[in-house]
């Protein structure tokens, strides 16, 4: 990895070095070009300047010529002698060094010196009528103008400036201090030098570079009036220039330091140079940043890719886990089913003990598998919340059914407190709410060795029709360390391992619980002191369907009592009923057949949908149990085909499936099934469903069960039947108290204490004929007396409650009401007497002061 990085670094540095050298190359090229272009444009500038100088020099010459021409014009009408006289007068006014003259065309002098054509070769041009400027070394600069006589030239006049005067008269020093200007003749001889022209200047002009520069200028002058070039001299950089003076045999020559011309331009040049350097620097920095960013981006992409791969692998694993869990459930169901049969039919105590162990281990395994299944559903986002109406009391009942035995087994007190004002009928996902509470309770029981586990159910506030339920589960267990709190709800976490090593579980329970709570819009919180216990609080919003309240804990307990005693045998028999059970798994068929053996229902079985259809064509069944997952033709298809058969139009179809995922029940019921059973099939549930669906005329009560109270009939329990029941069944009472004698004693005491007020309430309701209140009180009596073992009293109260309900029910006919009313009046006193007797008995039993 480090060598890889070093390679990358080397690559980046190499790239940057490359880039910078290219930029430097381009920059240098551009710089040279800019300098060249600047010099060229400055040469143009200097050229124009030279042209201006040349025009100025010409104008100065023109001024001389113009004044001469004026004199010539003046002299035109005069003859030779008058002209000569004029010159004699004029000459006196002249300064030293300036001479004037008048000449004939043949070169002879009229006045002044006769100039030679050899000295001044341009002189004859004047004879043709042209004004001339000419120079002769040592003689000086001459201006010559013709004097006309009509259209003909009759003589010429000149003014000659001595060499010594030239700098003063025609020098350029005052034009521009920075420019060095001089006038040369065609041979290169300097006619008019600048002031202070000395040996150093001669050296300058003799330098090879400078001479080359002027040579170049001479070439350029062929086609232009003025020219300038850039030259590197020994004394610095210069622009050399030259311009023709067309009227003369002379030319203007000069030079100017580069800096003078460049002036402001050179600053621009420097600015560009600096900016260019900074841009280069910026570019370098940006490219380094970009390269680093790019590298990071590549790494980031790799990470994302790896993450995706990991997630995909994780999903695959979850899916596999889910599938496996699902597959594992089927054989466990079989095991548990067969074990159930052993428990029912087994006689040998040790065999029964083994079967109990199997049941325990199997149930545990099933719950582990269910956890895994739930968790994988959460992972895959497949866990759904399906809401339906449910009754909270029934749910609490079921919860207790599951939880209480576990607490009892560990010798823990399980205290349940339920707020009586909670609405009973709610809308929500009952299965999941129950799962939450069971999870919390079983966790509490798991992690508590001694002491108690308390559950408090209340509701905090109602917002519209939403009730915020609050479940609080507190224990006296090992508690949670503060530092572990945040890992508490993580998947697969087992905290405090040295203390919890022996405790079974997947470590998924709380993660699933929290997820479920969150999905339902609720919240879960926990408070804990390590070593002293924990308190979990769940807030759940649930829709209120009916304002009816849940009532007292007693009622719930009493309702639960039926189930508390465990499975004691079939609840009914139906020897005339005939049902068909369809499942491709032979073991499942065996399990169900066995479970129904005691109901004496005639059970036919078959192993495919096709076979089932054949059976249904021939026979008429009172109910059909159909497995959903079957090869070829599944349960739904079989149902659809079966309902087309004449024999099966009225037949209820019950589907049973190991698919207990959310929504399955609703989906299947929508398909047309009358009822739904999850696998493994629980015997009570199976019986309950069959009891509801089988024709009532074919159902008979089980021989060992009391006849279900039939409020509509006059079959009120007679005294003989009541007397058959124990006045005080202490064993039953003790079982309700979790086998704790203390609790039982307390409950009994409370029962006795409430006797006077309760009795009075019942009596008042009776005298006021308020059957509703009467029913509530009698119901409470039924529950509370049963919880302390007063079976006889309870049964009697139950009969009264049924009669009271009959009186109130809208479905009851007038006769039925009258009959129920009569029953109440007849039995009211009996029940109160039984109540009194029970209190007396309890008082004597527990010897408590009344």
């Amino acid at each position: 990895m480090s060598s890889d990085q070093a390679y990358h670094l080397k690559k980046i540095i190499l790239q940057i070095v490359n880039l910078i050298s290219i930029l430097l190359l381009v920059g240098m090229l551009a710089h040279n070009k800019v300098a060249k272009v600047l010099n060229t444009s400055m040469e143009h500038h200097v050229t124009r300047q030279a042209m201006v100088f040349s025009i100025m020099a010409e104008e100065r010459f023109d001024r001389e010529l113009a004044s001469l021409r004026l004199a010539a014009e003046y002299l035109e009408p005069y003859g030779t002698q008058e002209r000569k006289k004029f010159f004699q007068i004029r000459a006196k006014a002249l300064r030293g060094g300036i001479s004037i003259g008048l000449m004939n065309l043949d070169g002879s002098s009229i006045y002044g010196e006769a100039l030679s054509e050899r000295d001044f070769p341009r002189l004859p041009m004047a004879y043709r009528g042209v004004s001339v400027v000419d120079y002769c070394p040592y003689k000086g600069l001459v201006f010559v103008v013709p004097i006309y006589n009509g259209g003909n030239v009759s003589s010429i006049t000149y003014r000659l400036y001595d060499d010594a005067l030239l700098v003063d008269h025609f020098g350029f020093a005052e034009y521009n201090e920075d420019y060095r200007l001089l006038i040369q003749d065609r041979s290169g001889k300097i006619i008019i030098p600048y002031k202070n022209f000395g040996a150093a200047d001669r050296l300058f002009f003799n330098e090879q570079n400078i001479r080359n520069g002027y040579e170049h200028i001479r070439e350029k002058l062929t086609f232009s009036r003025a020219a300038a070039v850039y030259a590197d001299g020994a004394e610095g950089r210069f622009f050399l220039f030259s311009a023709d003076l067309p009227r003369t045999n002379c030319s203007l020559v000069g030079y100017v330091p580069w800096e003078v011309v460049a002036g402001g331009i050179s600053r621009i040049h420097n600015l560009l140079l600096r900016v260019g350097f900074l841009v280069l620097l910026l570019f370098g920095v940006v490219s380094v940043t970009l390269l680093v960013m790019q590298k990071k981006a590549v790494e980031g992409e790799q990470l994302i890719l790896e993450k995706e791969l990991a997630e995909k692998a994780n999903r695959t694993k979850s899916l596999f886990l889910a599938n496996m869990s699902h597959e594992i459930r089927t054989p466990i169901n079989t095991i548990l089913g067969m074990n159930e049969m052993i428990l029912r039919e087994g006689k040998h105590p040790s065999i029964l003990a083994y079967a109990h162990n199997i049941q325990h281990a199997g149930t545990l395994l099933l719950s582990l598998i269910n956890d895994v299944l739930d968790f994988s559903r959460i992972e895959n986002g497949k866990l759904e919340i399906v809401t339906a109406h449910y009754r909270l009391s029934r749910m609490l009942n079921d919860i207790l059914l599951v939880v209480r035995p576990r607490a009892e087994k560990k010798g823990l007190a399980l205290h349940i407190a339920v707020d009586e004002t909670i609405p009973d009928t709610l809308q929500g996902d009952a299965v999941r709410v129950q799962q939450i509470m069971v999870n919390l309770l079983t966790n509490a029981i798991k992690y508590t060795q001694t002491g108690h586990v308390d559950m408090h159910v209340s509701h905090e506030k109602n917002e519209g029709n939403i009730a915020w339920l609050r479940f609080t589960v507190s224990d006296t267990g090992i508690g949670i360390r503060q530092e572990d709190m945040k890992r508490l709800f993580s998947s697969f976490e087992r905290l405090d391992l040295e203390n919890t090593r022996t405790i079974e579980g997947t470590g998924l329970g709380l993660a699933i619980t929290r997820d479920l709570v969150t999905r339902m819009g609720g919240a879960i919180s926990v408070e804990s002191t390590y070593g002293q216990g924990s308190t979990f609080t769940v807030h759940l919003p649930q829709e209120v369907v009916d304002a009816a309240t849940i009532g007292s804990l007693d009622a719930i307990m009493q309702a639960a009592s039926h189930d508390m005693v465990g499975y004691t045998g079939v609840s009914f028999t139906a020897p005339d009923a005939r049902i068909l059970v369809v499942d491709d798994n032979e073991m499942n068929l065996l399990v169900i057949t066995s479970l129904l053996k005691d109901t004496h229902i005639q059970v036919d079985t078959c192993q495919s949908g096709q076979e089932a259809l054949e059976r249904l064509t021939i026979n008429r069944y009172d109910a059909v149990l159909l497995d959903q997952m079957m090869p070829k033709m599944d349960g739904v298809e079989t149902l659809h085909r079966a309902t087309q058969l004449p024999n099966a139009t009225e037949t209820p179809f019950i589907v049973f499936t190991a698919d207990v995922t959310a929504g399955t029940r609703e989906r299947l019921l929508k398909e047309g099934f009358s009822e739904y059973l999850g696998k493994p099939v629980k015997p009570q549930q199976l019986e309950k469903v069959l009891a509801a669906l089988l024709p009532s005329e074919k159902i008979r009560p089980a021989p060992n069960m009391p006849q279900p109270a039939a409020p509509a009939s006059s079959a009120a329990p007679g005294m003989t039947e009541l007397e058959a029941l124990a006045e005080l069944n202490e064993e039953l009472g003790l079982s309700f108290s979790g086998g704790q004698h203390d609790l039982y004693a307390k409950l009994a005491q409370a029962f006795c204490n409430l006797h006077a007020s309760k009795k009075q309430q019942i009596a008042e309701a009776f005298t006021q004929q308020d059957w509703k209140t009467y029913g509530v009180h009698v119901h409470a009596l039924k529950s509370s007396s049963l919880s302390i073992g007063g079976q006889r009293c309870s049964a009697a109260a139950k009969a009264l409650e049924a009669a009271a309900n009959c009186c109130l029910a809208e479905t009851s006919s007038h006769e039925e009401r009258q009959e129920a009313l009569a029953y109440i009046r007849q039995q009211h006193a009996t029940v109160l007497r039984l109540y009194d007797d029970l209190v007396v008995l309890l008082n004597s039993k527990f010897t408590m002061p009344v």
Partner: protein
């Protein structure tokens, strides 16, 4: 690729500072392929342009006083010409208005009679060649009568006749020059007739001419009379073709174009080049020209090169008027613009 593009961009940047190649226009009356005036002018200017590096745009067969010349000027200016040569006598008068409206364009005309600030009269001192031709004719004649076929008596033609006559008088003071006018630059029939009259009626034994075509040499050759050519190297003639007055127009044009490029033509009225610059010369001597004659001519030529003025000293015209006093010289301006007389010794063939 981008790098190459950047470098090319940088390198090409220089071109933007270079001034565009200058262009000039040239307008002429005849066909530029026609031997004589037209071809010699065209060849001269095209060679000069090639040397100096100027692009030449030509409009030939442009009729005078037809409006074609101003139109051609506008076309040429629109195409970017900085200088335009008006290479026929009457163009400048016709185009004067449009020339004055284009002060930024330099014009050159071979007519000295029209002046504007931006127009230069361009001429060669052809009369110097005529002077030498006259000297040759004076030496060659036996009859002392020399015929001169000329187009119209304008300044240029008169100047030529006068210089020729002064040349004749320099070698043969007894000889006379007889001039026969044709009234047109190109009139071969009239020229032939005039040449025949000069030979037969006036008795001329040497002929010369000032015309654009070669009718006169043809007639002289046919008649067995000596003649001196003008402006064109004549080919296919016998020794009767004594010599020709020639002009190196290419040299002249190179000089004036150089001055145009240097910006020296502003307000230059006349630009005359002569024998001293090698623009004008007498050449192609035939065997009929003796070595003595040749050396005499060379002597006279030397004088001219060294500033001898032909029109200086006492000169009378053929009507007795004094045109130049002793010790005077006729100025260039007068020579260009105002020669409406023939020098003493010239006879006009009526």
């Amino acid at each position: 690729m981008l790098l190459i593009a950047i470098i090319v961009t940088i390198l090409q940047f220089e071109a933007t500072l270079e001034p565009p190649r200058p262009k000039i226009g040239f307008i002429i009356l005849g066909d530029i392929t026609q031997p004589g005036w037209n071809a010699s002018q065209y060849q001269g200017i095209s060679e000069a342009c090639r040397d100096v590096g100027i692009e030449l745009l030509v409009r030939d067969k442009v009729q005078e006083n037809s409006g074609q010349c101003p139109a051609a000027i506008q076309e040429l200016v629109a195409q970017g010409c900085g200088m335009i040569f008006l290479c026929s006598y009457a163009y400048s008068a016709e185009a004067r208005g449009i020339v004055e409206k284009m002060p930024h364009i330099a014009f050159a005309t071979n007519s000295a009679e029209v002046h504007t600030r931006n127009m230069t009269a361009y001429f060669v001192r052809m009369y110097q060649g005529r002077y030498l031709a006259g000297a040759l004719a004076g030496m060659r004649t036996k009859s002392n009568v020399i015929g001169y076929v000329a187009a119209i008596p304008n300044t240029e033609v008169n100047r030529g006749i006068n210089a020729f006559t002064l040349g004749v008088q320099a070698t043969n003071p007894a000889a006379k020059v007889v001039v026969a006018w044709t009234g047109a630059w190109e009139a071969p029939e009239k020229e032939t007739a005039n040449a025949k009259r000069l030979i037969n009626e006036a008795g001329a034994d040497v002929l010369t001419y000032h015309q654009d075509d070669q009718a006169v040499p043809d007639t002289a050759e046919a008649a067995g009379v000596y003649f001196i050519g003008y402006n064109t190297t004549l080919r296919g003639y016998s020794e009767r073709n004594l010599a020709s007055v020639l002009c190196r127009w290419d040299v002249y044009y190179r000089d004036i174009l150089q001055r145009f490029l240097k910006g020296e033509l502003n307000s230059v009225k006349n630009h005359w080049l002569g024998i001293d610059r090698g623009v004008v010369f007498l050449t192609d001597f035939s065997p009929a020209v003796t070595p003595h004659m040749r050396s005499r001519i060379a002597e006279l030529r030397e004088q001219l090169v060294h500033n001898k003025l032909i029109f200086s000293g006492q000169i009378h015209d053929n009507k007795g008027t004094l045109r130049c006093a002793a010790g005077e010289a006729i100025s260039d301006d007068t020579l260009l613009e105002k020669i409406d007389w023939q020098v003493e010794g010239v006879k006009i063939l009526e």
